[in-house]
């Protein structure tokens, strides 16, 4: 009988090689990848998310847990892909035009993936029309816009305007975040939601579905 608790613990503690070994052992013993994800990884990221939110762990611990989660997820991915396992949702995310910062965005991606989302990373310095192209061509539930610079915050508004002009606004929910962004700004520019940090982003993304 495979001990999912041990896998959960190893991911939450950021034990990268142990998480990989246990995942391999689970798959070798015939457990479905989806079950490993549901019973081993998702509880781990819930623990990590809660601990981060409460200030019990910090970025180093979160990143190590993310590495352990990725090591495990890499082994599960082939089977998940062939069996078409359901994701929590589909999320496209990018840093807005003029802004090259991606650390915050990447932490959001890490937490979303760890919570079962399929995430498409659009990178940095993404123009409003590029966001529109992605929304048009893909079947995404949520679009995330990130900015670190006060300077680039208006590009969030420009992106939402571009989505409206392209007739795409009703097709997708828009979330915004980043150090200078506030809930009031999010409301002012017509975003669907603002998230303070990566953990809150996961909870809000779920609530928007």
């Amino acid at each position: 009988m495979f001990d999912f608790t041990e896998l959960t613990h190893s991911v939450a503690e950021g034990e990268v090689s142990k998480a990989g070994d246990l995942t391999r052992r689970a798959l070798d013993s015939g457990i479905a990848a989806k079950e490993v994800l549901d019973k081993g990884l998702l509880p781990a990221m819930e623990i990590v998310g809660n601990s981060f939110e409460k200030g019990e762990i910090y970025l180093p611990e979160l990143l190590m847990a993310g590495d352990a989660m990725k090591a495990s997820l890499e082994l599960l991915r082939p089977e998940l892909a062939t069996k078409g396992a359901a994701y929590a949702g589909r999320y496209a995310i990018g840093t807005v035009q003029g802004d090259l910062h991606d650390i915050g965005k990447n932490i959001v991606i890490l937490m979303l993936e760890g919570n079962g989302w399929e995430v498409t990373d659009l990178g940095i310095d993404v123009a409003p029309e590029q966001f529109c192209d992605v929304v048009k061509s893909g079947d995404f539930d949520i679009l995330g816009l990130s900015a670190l610079l006060t300077f680039t915050m208006p590009k969030m508004a420009d992106t939402i305007s571009a989505l409206k002009e392209a007739g795409l606004r009703s097709k997708i929910k828009v979330m915004v975040g980043g150090a200078p962004v506030t809930p009031a700004f999010a409301q002012q520019i017509g975003a669907d939601a603002y998230a303070r940090d990566a953990v809150e982003a996961v909870a809000i993304a779920k609530s928007l579905l």
């Binding site: 200030g55 180093p60 990143l63 190590m64 003029g98 090259l100 610079l149 506030t182 303070r196 940090d197």
Partner: protein
């Protein structure tokens, strides 16, 4: 009270005594704001024109860069990292590739020369022009150098758990450099050293208080102690919510803390009540939203609010919550300085 020089005003506030008026300066002022307020002025001319109490030389102004791709804003910094500047902001580059990607890189690493005369040229000119009148401040940023030049940020954070020895060795590289560099700055005639590496995010410290104490504080404490041994005050800047590490910052003996970040939920009144008897407080006028998008009236009210919370008895320098970056409205910045001059005169009379 007799009118003090800008320098005296700064030093009095830093000693947590009451000067003639609350001082003001900025760590950095974007040239677009300077151009809008005083067309054609150099940074130094602008500081004179606005009667700012200090001229501040951000370390990036004295660093050496090798341009790799001018059109894309890509440079190699003096530590060997490849960085890119945003097309809309020249102040916050991102690291494309750090100098040290592996232990092997570390073994063969040679750092920059802290004695390079070119680093001190502009400061020497500032000393000639301002010494004894305005406070001359130079910034240094050892932790940011480790985090953004020597190593990629996330790898550094993971190193704290998986390879603490690596972090110690990186810290030794910057400690050796900055010990010498700061000695040179003070020899040239700098009045105040300001350490400007961010240690916190909006929600709290970047790393746990335990790791802050273990990996970040020691190099900083060395700097504070060295400055004090030379009779020079040392200020600390960090964005973010620092409540959890405020005690340990103060315990280093640092003279002032900036900017008590309002966007991270830091309350200036609370900081004054808790630490006003130990350190000078600086900043807190929101440059993220208020100075960028607010009205002049809102700016005046914010200045009054800051002075009300932290001005009593001295020990407060009123300034923005980071810098006067390119998105700040020039009118709002000018209004902020006017309001500080109007409401910041001791004895305070705000209403």
């Amino acid at each position: 009270m007799k009118k003090l020089s800008n320098l005296e005003r700064m030093l009095t506030a830093i000693r947590r005594e009451e000067p003639d008026a609350i001082p003001t300066f900025e760590i950095d002022i974007d040239e677009r704001v300077i151009e809008a307020i005083k067309p054609g002025a150099s940074y130094e001319d602008f500081c004179e024109y606005m009667d700012l109490d200090a001229v501040c030389y951000h370390e990036t102004r004295t660093d050496q860069y090798q341009v790799i791709d001018k059109a894309k804003g890509i440079v190699r910094d003096q530590w060997g990292a490849i960085k890119q500047y945003s097309p809309v902001s020249m102040s916050v580059p991102v690291t494309l590739e750090p100098a040290i990607k592996s232990k092997e890189d570390l073994e063969s690493y040679v750092g920059p020369d802290p004695d390079l005369p070119a680093r001190f040229k502009r400061l020497e000119e500032a000393v000639k022009r301002f010494k004894g009148r305005k406070a001359i401040i130079a910034t240094v940023r050892p932790f940011a150098t480790v985090k953004d030049s020597l190593r990629a940020q996330n790898e550094l954070f993971k190193d704290m758990i998986r390879d603490p020895d690596m972090v110690d060795r990186l810290n030794q590289i910057v400690s050796d450099y900055y010990r010498r560099y700061i000695k040179n700055l003070i020899d040239v005639g700098v009045d105040i050293i300001m350490e400007t590496a961010d240690w916190a995010f909006t929600h709290g410290p970047m790393v746990s208080p335990k790791y802050t104490e273990r990996f970040i504080i020691p190099v900083f404490r060395e700097i504070v102690e060295y400055c004090h041994s030379r009779g020079v005050p040392c200020l600390k800047h960090t964005d973010g919510n620092i409540w959890e590490i405020f005690d340990m910052i103060v315990a280093t003996g640092v003279d002032g803390v900036h900017p008590i970040d309002p966007l991270a939920g830091m309350d200036l009144g609370e900081a004054k009540a808790k630490y006003g008897d130990k350190v000078c407080l600086l900043g807190n006028v929101d440059c993220g939203n208020l100075l960028s998008w607010g009205t002049k009236e809102e700016v005046r009210e914010a200045v009054k609010d800051c002075i009300r919370k932290a001005g009593k008895g001295g020990g407060y320098i009123c300034m923005s919550s980071n810098s006067i970056h390119g998105a700040v409205s020039p009118e709002n910045y000018a209004e902020m300085v006017r309001a500080i001059r109007e409401y910041g005169r001791y004895p305070l009379s705000l209403d």
